[in-house]
Symmetry: C2
Subunit: 350 residues, 2 copies
DNA sequence: TTGAAAGCGATACCAC
DNA sequence: GTGGTATCGCTTTCAA
C-alpha cells in the first residue's frame, strides 16, 4: 500500500537518486553485467535495496519527464473479429517482449469514434499507432501524424495518405479465388460483398472482376453488394441465392468469414447443398471450412506476418530509421485447399 | 508537433492555470452548463482558447499528480480465444463510455507471465484488474491486492482467495448438458476434457459426474482427460472415438469449442457421422454448431452479462462501495438448441 | 471566483 | 563513477 520511491531506495542504499535511476534503467549486457556507468558493487547494493523495499518505477513520472511512454495503441474495427483478435494477440506478444505495452480499442467502423480514440491514445502519449482504419478515418489519423505519432495501417488502405502500411494484396486474393473456380470448371461465378467501401473488400471485388474479364467472362460478372447490418445481410444472401439456380449461377465467392456464414445459412434455409447446388470460395479462417465435407476452399491472410511486419515498421518509424520504400509492405494471401484438421493443408495451386 | 500545455492556455486566455485545470476537468451538468466554480464566461473563453490552441491534457502529468490513472487492465489466457475476445470487446466498450482506458494482455496459461504482466500493470498505475486466471495465478494476483488494486476474477475461480468474482455456474452447465442427453434417451454419455485443471473445466466435469450419478448411471461415467496441446489433443480425441462404438458410447459432452472441433475432426477422420454414430453437446459458440444439420446443442455463457458485471463490480471495488456479498456474482449458462442462423434460438428446456 | 505556489516521482544535465 | 538540482505538466491546497 505504501509507495516506495527512488528517493527511499537512494537513502537506504546510501547513494544519490541519480545512481538509483541509472541502475533501474540499465539493461543487462551480454556479459551478465549491467551496462551502465555505475560501480558494480554499488549497483548490486542498489538492486538489493530496491528489491527489499519492493520498489516499483512510477511510469507516470518517468513518462512525464522523459516524454516516452513505451506504449503503443492498436485500433481495429472490432476486437471480437477473429482476424483482428488474432492479429492483436500477436502484436501484444511481440510488443511485450520488446518492452512495450499495448492499448487496444475498437472503432466499430465509426470515424467519429476513431477520432475520439486517437485523441485518447494521444493523451496517453502512445509512441505509435497500428490501425485497421474505417472508411473516412484519414482525418482522425492525420491528427496523430501531425503530433508526430507514427501510424501504420493494416488490413485496409487509405489511399492518398502517407501512413506506413502493411497490407495484403487483396486484388490478387480476388483473382486467386476466381481462378480456382475456373480450374474447377465454373464460369458462372458471382460474388457477394458489402456496401462498406473498405479497400480490403473493394480490392477483392476488383480482383474478381478483373479475373472474369481476363477470362472473357465480362458479361457473367455479377457483383452483389449488400448491407453490413447482420440481419439485412442474412436476408440479402438468402434473396441472392433464391434465384441463383434459375439464372444459372454455379459458384459464389464470399469474401469474408461472416458472408460465408450467411451463405451456409442461406443454403440451409433454402434447402440447398454445398457443393451440389453451388460451389464456394470463402475467405479468412473458420472451423466450418475445415469440418465441411468436402473441405471449403478459402483464402487466408498471413496473420503472423502482418503482426510482425506492422510492429517492426512502427518501431522503425518511432526510431526514425525507415526508408521510404520500407513504409509500404504488401503481403500475399494464400488459397487453402486442405483443412486444418486431419489432412495437411495443401497450399495454393498457382 | 509542438506541445500545448495548460500554461499556454492560461496565458492566452489571461487566467491562471488553476482555472484552466478546473474548466478542463469539469463535467457537463445536466443543465448543459459546466459544474465547476468558474464564471461561465471565463469558462467559455478558456474552452475556446484551449480548442484554438489544440490543447490536450498530458495524462502522465495528471496521473502523477493525482495518483489516478483512469485505466484498468484485463488479463485473459488468450486474447484470440473468441470467448475472451468477445468479453474484452464488451469490457472495452463499457469502460470507454465510463472514461476508462483498458490495457489487455494474454497470460498464455503461464503463471510466470501472469506475474510479470501484473507487475507491468501495477507500474502503469491501473486502478483495477479483471483477470481470467491461469492455474497457479493466486500469488501474482495477491501482489496486486497487496498494493491496493482491486481484482475481479472471470471465467475461472481461484478457490480460497478473496478476489471479487463474476463466474458462471459451470457445475450447473455440466448438469444441463448431461440432462439434455438423458432427455434424448442416451445413457452411455462420455465427456472429453483437458488435464488443465482450471475450475471452468473441472466444474463442468463435476456437473457431468453428478448428473450421471443422480441418474443411477455412476458406472457409466467415462471422463477422458487429454493434453491441452493442440496436436496431442487432436490425436487424443481420435483415439477416444476409435473404440467408442465398441464400448457402446452414445453421446459425448465436449466442454469447450476447441474440443468440439477436435470431435468433428475425429468424426471425419474415422468416417463417422453426427448424429448417426454419436450425439454431442458442445460448449461456447461456433458457426459450426449453427450450420450443422441438425444444429448442435451447445451450452453458452452470458458473455455480455459477464462483461457488464465484472466491470461494474470492479468499479465498485475501486470506489470502495461494495458489500461482501456483492463480491461474488454467479451467472447461469444456457443450453441453446436452435441455431443462430435461420431459426430463432430456442432456449433451455429446463 | 480566482490565483500563487507546493509538490507528484522520475530523468537529464551538469558539475565534481 | 557519483551527486545536486532543475524541470516535465498537472492537480491541489490555501488565501485572497
Amino acid at each position: 500500500m505504501k509507495k516506495v520511491t527512488i528517493r527511499d531506495v537512494a537513502r537506504e542504499a546510501g547513494v544519490s537518486v541519480t545512481l538509483v535511476s541509472f541502475v533501474m534503467n540499465a539493461k543487462m549486457g551480454k556479459d551478465g553485467r549491467l551496462d551502465c556507468p555505475v560501480n558494480p558493487n554499488t549497483a548490486a547494493r542498489v538492486l538489493e535495496v530496491a528489491k527489499r523495499l519492493g520498489y516499483r518505477r512510477n511510469n507516470a513520472a518517468a513518462s512525464l519527464r522523459s516524454g516516452r511512454s513505451h506504449s503503443i495503441a492498436v485500433i481495429v474495427s472490432d476486437l471480437a473479429n477473429p482476424l483482428f483478435a488474432e492479429i492483436c494477440r500477436k502484436i501484444e506478444n511481440i510488443a511485450y517482449k520488446d518492452g512495450y505495452t499495448v492499448i487496444f480499442a475498437s472503432s466499430e467502423e465509426n470515424p467519429d469514434k476513431l477520432a475520439h480514440l486517437v485523441e485518447t491514445m494521444v493523451g496517453y502519449n502512445v509512441e505509435g499507432l497500428i490501425v485497421a482504419p474505417c472508411l473516412g478515418g484519414e482525418k482522425a489519423l492525420e491528427r496523430a501524424t501531425s503530433i508526430g505519432i507514427p501510424t501504420v495501417l493494416i488490413d485496409r488502405d487509405l489511399p492518398g495518405t502517407d501512413f506506413g502500411r502493411v497490407l495484403v494484396d487483396n486484388v490478387d486474393a480476388g483473382v486467386i479465388a476466381t481462378k480456382y473456380l475456373f480450374h474447377q470448371g465454373f464460369g458462372k461465378i458471382e460474388m457477394i460483398s458489402y456496401k462498406l467501401g473498405v479497400t480490403s473488400l473493394t480490392d477483392r471485388e476488383y480482383g474478381y472482376s478483373k479475373a472474369m474479364e481476363d477470362a472473357g467472362l465480362k458479361d457473367e460478372i455479377k457483383l452483389h453488394r449488400i448491407e453490413y447490418d447482420a440481419d439485412l445481410a442474412k436476408k440479402g444472401v438468402i434473396e441472392i441465392f433464391r434465384d441463383a439456380s434459375k439464372r444459372g449461377a454455379e459458384a459464389f465467392i464470399l469474401p469474408t468469414k461472416k458472408l460465408a456464414m450467411y451463405g451456409f445459412n442461406a443454403l440451409n434455409v433454402l434447402g440447398l447443398n454445398f457443393p451440389k447446388n453451388f460451389s464456394f470460395v470463402c475467405f479468412d479462417e473458420s472451423d466450418t471450412y475445415d469440418i465441411s465435407k468436402p473441405v471449403i476452399p478459402h483464402v487466408v491472410q498471413p496473420i503472423s506476418e502482418i503482426a510482425d511486419k506492422a510492429f517492426a515498421l512502427m518501431r522503425k518509424m518511432i526510431d526514425g530509421t525507415v526508408d521510404q520504400e520500407e513504409r509500404n509492405v504488401t503481403l500475399k494471401a494464400k488459397l487453402i485447399l486442405g483443412g486444418r484438421f486431419g489432412v495437411d493443408p495443401t497450399e495454393a495451386i498457382f
